[in-house]
Subunit: 169 residues, 3 copies
């Protein structure tokens, strides 16, 4: 009975060991996803750092109350501040790409790609997103950002098509 429940063929492999540290494709996903999680959370801290450093870029009226964060409140602290807003735009760009990768990468693992393809697509995504962050933070030209955005986006799109094809096959 164990054989009949577990003996799925290679194309329709059982999930039993797929989502575990025994599966190198899953380990790749774990590493890529963990780095991207730290990237998203770190972006929030870049916004915090930039708000404190520039003593402005706040978005809520109550942030003009005096306190440990704001010792010298002034109305202009609520004005748009590119230094701080840039970090928020970077965050938004992350959110437009990375949560889709989280879901897509997990399903891609279950769709059983080769380890070479999985490493190529997932680490390409991670490197493209980290370089996109660097390009955005250092105000590189639109073309640089666009290229890195494209690379990351295409990696996710390829994985999503692979997942869809595996599911409807």
């Amino acid at each position: 009975m164990a054989a009949s429940r577990h003996g799925a063929g290679p194309t329709r492999g059982s999930a039993m060991n797929v989502l575990s540290l025994d599966n190198p494709v899953f380990v790749t996903y774990m590493i890529a996803a963990a780095i991207m999680i730290l990237k998203i959370m770190g972006q929030g801290w870049m916004t915090v750092f930039r708000m404190l450093k520039s003593d402005g870029g706040f978005v809520s009226p109550e942030d003009l109350r005096p306190g440990a964060i704001n010792r010298n409140p002034r109305p202009e602290q609520l004005e748009l501040n590119d230094y701080v807003d840039r970090s928020r735009r970077m965050h938004r760009n992350d959110l437009e790409n990375i949560p889709a990768f989280f879901a897509c990468g997990l399903l891609f693992v279950i769709a059983s790609p080769s380890i070479l393809v999985a490493n190529a697509l997932m680490y390409t995504f991670v490197v493209a997103r980290l370089l996109h962050t660097l390009a955005y933070a250092t105000k590189q030209s639109h073309e640089v950002r666009a290229t890195l955005y494209t690379i990351g986006s295409v990696a996710v799109i390829i994985m999503a098509i692979y997942v869809l094809a595996a599911a409807i096959a």
Copy 2:
């Protein structure tokens, strides 16, 4: 020993084959999630397309540098452009709904709903979100958008309550 480790009853089924292509409920989730992943990524490309087509709607000061994307820089390219901003609002609306679906749908699969219920809720969500996109892009009245938003949102809420009930039962 295999039996004792795998022999969970129907209400507390083992996860071993739940997250695999052998489980029709999971296949539904794979298809629904993959379509939604392509939806999110495609929305980014709609924004890119609209920026290029309208030659404006940029959000970063450095985008006014001359280059392949911007051959004729002008300050008004940084002004709010409803054609481009609409795509960003559509993207934001996606992000307020779809990542929660990714997590919720996966947990819903593990909570072992019937295939009929799973198909109904997941495909309802997918269709409602695609029609919401269409309604937003074609500037339908607020009531149309609100109705489609409601349908998608309620589908996720029902799944989340089902998951919570299964977990605390």
Copy 3:
């Protein structure tokens, strides 16, 4: 053969029962994630409620068409309305934190933490995010919000580092 495929040791446990209701750590994740899913979706409904209550805070020009939602259209309904925008900011803050938790928590479960550590980190995240929402809605000082944001963010960061360490070990 079943033994050889399933007999992984405690540090590299098989995934077969990890993502099931038999695993208390996974049940904690299910409960935490389901609450956070309801939180995200509920935030959308708070925005809807506040738009209807204040009869404004709209963001699309077509929302000025007369209809069931807007019986008395006026141009100022498109102006920034802090009561409504606050709910959108709360939503954005959720999106900057919660989808990363969805991915991180799932991987954390597979990385096999103790139930005590999992409960502590996951429920700390949930409580911190719910209190952050309460603090934001009631216009508490920036310091209060910042403290609750920090607690939730650090919980996710600790889980992500644990996942990364498990994957590269």
